[in-house]
């Protein structure tokens, strides 16, 4: 079953998105653009759509069509090379490109779509849009209003009945809509706008300012210099965008022109305050349609529950402030304003496919899950916020020789020490074949199903013996409890870390003593008596240090042992090589995480 794509078929630019794994993804075109210009051109029996059509528009004005949306639903015809096209047919060409871009990106066929239209579109205009889809080979499952799509993108449709204003200041048009939304309710109460007001007008103000400034300082009118004008226009647009994020920006255009006295450069600092001053009247002019729409709907600003911002120009701080001040509340602006309409359409497509309902219900484990290991620490096996269902295993071993039982203490929480976390359950794995410490392989598996039920099992890989428990309450923590647990972990992080380090150090020291003593007994007679005494002395010093709490002492004594041991190992190897026999290769380092083998041991039952 194919995916339903969501298409924002705009006057100047179009955008297409699709739901993937419950999240809306904007589909870039092959040139990497996340929006595609709504421009179609014909040349030498070739048809071009999008950016490429825009690039050649000036060379081919009679055969390039833009803003066809303004004619949808009318009898207008485009006549090119003796052929006549309806607006639907032209729009279909744009839709066809969006369709194939989507197919290329997704790697599968696309046959169904949701397409958005302005709230004020008549039946004829909506039908024309649906027909355009059909001509393009798309089964248009739904035509939805652009402000409604925006509301969907912001997740508003699911709440109680409310009145929403959508303020859409985009490429070249400004639209205000007041809509009533709720469960099954979607009514457009009023619309207003300005068909020829957009980001370009803001750019123009900055450009004019730059031109007059340069003229004043240098006596040269750059308007006559096409190249200079082009550079300045680009710089003006960039400055506008920069000032949405910074309070001032530098415009540097060296060698902008030249006169008898030499080359001239353009340099200017533009502040946000200046930009606001230059564009103040443009922003003010948008309030007219806002007032109009409210009045037509019979509402006051305070009657509006939410205000949504759509369209690239709503990134301008002055626009956001003006809307906030007039409406008396903060507008919603989290989602990319150029893309939120397409995103909303994709969400609608997802709802129709059944995607949204199914996949958005994925749960997560609120807190980490793990087991208690040697020294009373918690070893995490599943990290918090892991999506469930999930399954993870880890292999452990025994800390004592001939240990035949391990106790599995199942914990939930973020603290380093087992005692500081919550116990979910306990069980024992028995009848482990007797073996030296560190030899048995106990596989502990955490398996959480979609309902949050945790199955913990422990299996001795040698004997195959396995047992486990089922815990049903692992996700039954209140949000407050979870937050508290996480905050506590952060608060005690330093302390916990130190305690953990101390324990790890002790464990490593123990392991070192064990390994060295083992190697010594293996070497037996090959170890010269005075060397044996020397290393025994150091081992004893380490054992003494381990009785106390001085970590640095322990570390130093460990280094002493390791150093001497390395010495002896080298000697033994040299002697063995001289004797022509293979020498013992005792490991001087405690094993550390080789092959994912964790050097964390269980406390044996006896040590309880």
């Amino acid at each position: 079953m194919s995916k339903i794509i969501g298409i924002d078929l705009g006057t100047t630019n179009s955008c297409v998105a699709v739901l993937e794994g419950g999240e809306a993804v904007v589909i870039p075109n092959p040139e990497g653009g996340r929006t595609t210009p709504s421009v179609v051109a014909f040349k030498d029996n070739e048809r071009m759509v999008g950016q490429i059509a825009k690039r050649q528009a000036i060379t081919n004005p009679d055969r390039t069509v833009s803003s066809i949306k303004r004619h949808m639903g009318s009898d207008y015809k485009v006549n090119i090379d003796g052929k006549s096209y309806t607006p639907q047919e032209i729009s279909a060409m744009i839709l066809q490109k969006l369709k194939s871009d989507a197919e290329a990106y997704l790697g599968e066929k696309v046959t169904e779509a949701v397409i958005t239209v302005p709230a004020y579109f008549t039946d004829a205009q909506r039908q024309a849009t649906k027909d355009a889809g059909k001509i393009a080979g798309l089964d248009v499952k739904r035509i939805i209003n652009e402000p409604t799509a925006a509301a969907l993108a912001y997740g508003i449709d699911k709440e109680n009945d409310q009145k929403i204003m959508v303020y859409d200041l985009g490429g070249g048009t400004f639209d205000v809509s007041v809509i009533e939304m709720g469960e099954g309710v979607q009514e457009v109460l009023a619309t207003a706008g300005n068909n020829h007001l957009g980001g370009d007008d803001f750019d123009e103000r900055v450009l004019n300012y730059m031109l007059s400034d340069f003229k004043a300082n240098n006596g040269i009118d750059l308007r006559n210099d096409k190249m200079a004008l082009q550079r300045l226009r680009e710089a003006a647009e960039k400055a506008k965008c920069d000032l949405s994020g910074m309070t001032s920006t530098q415009v540097n255009l060296p060698y902008i022109t030249a006169d008898a006295t030499g080359p001239k450069h353009f340099e200017m600092t533009i502040t946000r305050a200046k930009f606001n001053e230059l564009t103040h009247d443009l922003v003010e002019s948008t309030m007219g349609p806002v007032r109009q729409a409210l009045s037509d709907a019979g509402l006051k600003p305070s009657d509006i529950n939410k205000v949504l911002l759509v369209g690239g120009s709503t990134r301008i701080p002055a626009v956001q402030e003006a809307v906030k001040e007039f409406m008396g509340k903060d507008p919603f602006k989290g989602i990319n304003p150029d893309e939120c309409v397409a995103v909303g359409a994709a969400l609608q497509g997802g709802v129709l496919t059944g995607d949204v309902k199914g996949l958005l219900l994925l749960d997560v484990t609120p807190l980490s899950l793990g087991v208690e290991t040697l020294g009373g620490v918690m070893t995490k096996i599943i990290e918090r916020n892991t999506t469930i269902p999930t399954k993870k295993s880890q292999i452990f071993t025994t800390p004592a020789d001939n240990q035949t039982t391990v106790e599995v203490h199942v914990l939930q929480g973020e603290r380093e020490m087992a005692a500081d976390n919550k116990t979910l359950g306990n069980f024992k794995l028995t009848d482990i074949p007797a073996a030296p410490r560190g030899v048995p392989q106990i596989e502990v598996t955490f398996d959480i199903d979609a309902n949050g039920i945790v199955h913990v099992s422990a299996k001795d890989l040698t004997s195959g013996k396995e047992t486990g428990i089922t815990i049903t309450s692992s996700t039954n923590m209140s949000k407050d409890d979870v937050e508290k647990a996480v905050k506590d972990a952060e608060r005690y992080a330093e302390e916990d870390k130190k305690r953990r380090e101390a324990i790890d150090l002790r464990n490593n020291a123990d392991q070192l003593v064990f390994n060295v003593e083992k190697s010594m007994s293996e070497m037996g007679d090959k170890l010269p008596a005075d060397d044996k005494a020397a290393i025994e002395e150091r081992i004893n010093a380490l054992k003494e240090a381990l009785k106390g709490d001085n970590l640095d002492e322990i570390r130093n004594k460990m280094n002493d042992v390791q150093a001497k041991f390395a010495d002896l190992a080298q000697k033994a190897q040299a002697a063995a090589q001289a004797a022509g026999a293979a020498g013992a290769q005792p490991g001087a380092e405690p094993p550390k995480n080789d092959d994912g083998y964790v050097d964390a041991d269980y406390r044996s039952v006896d040590n309880n």
């Binding site: 079953m1 993937e20 794994g21 040139e31 071009m48 490429i52 059509a53 690039r55 050649q56 528009a57 000036i58 060379t59 004005p61 990106y105 997704l106 790697g107 599968e108 096409k226 190249m227 082009q230 060296p254 060698y255 030249a258 030499g262 080359p263 199914g358 996949l359």
Partner: protein, 174 residues
């Protein structure tokens, strides 16, 4: 005659079947049907999800591989205005030959690095206009020039391999 008999037999079988069908399916049969339906539905959702995952994985791998070249292209693209300005600097009259030479050497150094990254320029006066490479911002009619050719280059075009970093900004004729 045989046919007639057969028809009769079939007739009575049908009637017998109809009779059994008119009896309600047992609760177990109903539940079985429902479960069968559920299984099919779940299986379908699972398969769809697996397929989606496969596609996503395939695409993400491609994106990962493309990440480095894309990063390089983005940085080089940001440097193009600097390249333009260097070229303008060298075109401007300069009486201090030593200073000019220094600027030229710096520019050559910059271009050396960028060419190592694969940078190539394109867009010459006289070439036929190609919307795949050029962005026409002005148009003139000029008898002395061919049909649909570039009459002026405002900004050179640059690319790395197949990827166009900047389309050549041109004026076309005819």
């Amino acid at each position: 005659m045989e046919t007639a008999e057969n028809t009769e037999t079939v007739g009575s079988e049908e009637t017998a079947q109809q009779q059994t069908q008119q009896q309600e399916p047992s609760p177990q049969e109903k539940e079985l049907e429902q479960l069968r339906g559920q299984v099919t539905e779940e299986k379908d959702r699972y398969l769809r999800l697996m397929a989606e995952f496969e596609n996503y994985r395939r695409r993400t791998t491609k994106e990962k591989e493309a990440a480095y070249p894309e990063a390089v292209a983005n940085i080089v693209k940001e440097l193009l205005p600097v390249v333009d300005n260097f070229q303008r600097a060298l075109e401007a009259p300069c009486s201090d030959e030593g200073y000019r030479k220094g600027v030229e050497m710096t520019y050559d150094g910059l271009m050396g690095v960028l060419r190592t990254m694969g940078l190539e320029e394109f867009g010459e006066v006289g070439e036929t206009f190609d919307a795949n490479l050029h962005n026409a911002v002005m148009h003139v009619e000029d008898e002395n020039l061919g049909k649909n050719v570039i009459s002026q280059v405002f900004q050179k075009g640059y690319r790395i391999g197949e990827r166009i970093l900047r389309y050549a900004m041109v004026q076309t004729a005819n």
